[in-house]
Amino acid sequence: MTPTISTTALGRRYRGQAALEDVSLEVEPDTVTGLLGRNGAGKTTLMRIVTGLEFPTSGSIAVFGETPAENESVLRRMVFVREDQAYPDLRVSHVIRVASWFYPNWSEELARQLLTDFDLPLQRRIRKLSRGMRSAVGIVIGLAARAELTLFDEPYAGLDAVARQLFYDRLLADFAEHPRTVVLSTHLIDEVADLLEHVVVLDRGRVVLDAPADDVRGTAMTVSGPVTAVEEFVAGRAVWHRQRLGARAAVTVAGPLGAAAQARARALHLSLEPLTLQQLLVHAASSPADEKVSA
């Protein structure tokens, strides 16, 4: 099957500054991919190139097997919801109506449902909305468009926890009924960790991790307990991080741990805890390049 997105050695430079460098990745159809990384890592630039809003300076990109820039047969099939979306001076109802004219799979029913859920004032002008409400308008368009490729770039800036949960729930529910390819970029990694099937991590414009989310989750474990027992257990293992507090220690080691190792940990009365996605990324971002997470 043709991957929905496929890039080869993709690069984008701005006045000598590399925003993206040598990015080669594939996004499979009907999956939810998390595009993660720190501020300025190149997430937005990558999504803008995918949606044809920006041009690469090197390498190539194919979306649905074709170049996206100025290619309407590709552009029609995707929707891009971005944090910094600028709207003309229109009312909420106008913006929603305009969007409905352009997306071939638009669901009016879902749009109306979401507008009610997010409690959006239809007659208010976009520029009078709070930041969270403006984000909600983008989310309504992104979900109701039911585009084959749906890209969310930090879609919930300013949204409260309840509204964010609403977004996750609606996304999952609609995704189940109408499968599509979703690429989601966010800083709230632990919140979305369960949604993601695939994880791509960018750091300074480069891909540092590209793996199924399940593989990533077992990448590292934190072993904690009495110092002697912990040290005995981790001997010979790749240690990522050590922390000591009195007679107790917590050591993060590279995983995954097999059944034998887990049984041994139990015998030593040690507690084992897998690193969350967020912890993994913090670790990956703060460690030297040669010991980046690999899965």
Binding site: R48, G52, L53, N71, M78, Q85, Y87, D89, H94, F102
Partner: protein
């Protein structure tokens, strides 16, 4: 074609900018001139030039269509080319309707002897003083020309910001300068004068249409590499 129409509709949702303001501002200009013509009547009739307000405002509308309205427009899964052509379709439609409106107002002005005061607001000597169909055509061409010119300004601003805008204006001034210098060096001022004095109103409309086409081509070239 359906997509082009939808782009035009997208702009028209903002009726304030594209309908109410151009006509409102021109109406204001008209009323001011009418009052002046009433209290200070001139024996030769009052020539105002106030009609230029609607054209200037359409230039602003063109710039808005390529700046404020652009990011959301390009979010809607359309190419830059379609966005540009759809906007051009909008101004073509507006040009036909607004041109007809100006033609009707000119007819009323003529029938009432300048609104009873000798005011020449909708009648402009030489360029817009002929039969109704000629006024309609010239109005259409001028409305489109100003809007396309504004679109190009908006696109230059989007791509190269203020520095680009200043450079764009400077380049036009320089182009004008080159023509002036060339005419002087080659002693061709007489020919230039002859060209303009013998140019008929319909021929002038033709020249303006050619200018509008050139502006449209310039804008279409500029939008191709605009990034959002």
């Amino acid at each position: 074609m359906k997509t082009l129409v939808n782009v035009a509709r997208y702009h028209l949702v903002d009726r304030l900018t594209y309908v109410a303001l151009p006509w409102g501002i021109m109406a204001f200009s008209f009323l001011v001139n009418l009052v002046i013509a009433t209290v200070l009547p001139s024996p030769q009739g009052d020539y105002t030039g106030g009609l230029v307000t609607i054209y200037i405002f359409l230039l602003i509308c063109g710039a808005i269509s390529m700046t404020r309205a652009l990011p959301f427009g390009l979010m809607l899964g359309i190419s830059r080319r379609t966005y540009y052509l759809g906007t051009a379709l909008l101004i073509a439609a507006l040009g036909v309707v607004y041109g007809l409106g100006l033609t009707l107002l000119q007819a009323v002005e003529r029938a009432t002897g300048g609104w009873g005061t000798g005011l020449h607001f909708f009648r402009v000597p030489w360029i817009m003083d002929g039969p109704w169909y000629q006024t309609w055509l010239t109005s259409f061409v001028l409305l489109v020309l100003f809007f396309l010119y504004g679109m190009w300004y908006g696109l230059v601003y989007r791509r190269w910001n203020l520095v680009g805008l200043v450079t764009f204006v400077a380049a036009q001034v320089l182009a004008g300068l080159v023509v002036v210098v060339a005419a002087s060096i080659t002693h061709n001022w007489a020919a230039v004068g002859h060209f303009f004095t013998t140019l008929t109103a319909p021929a002038l409309t033709g020249v303006l249409a050619a200018v509008a086409a050139a502006l449209g081509l310039g804008g279409l070239t500029t939008i191709r590499r605009v990034t959002i």
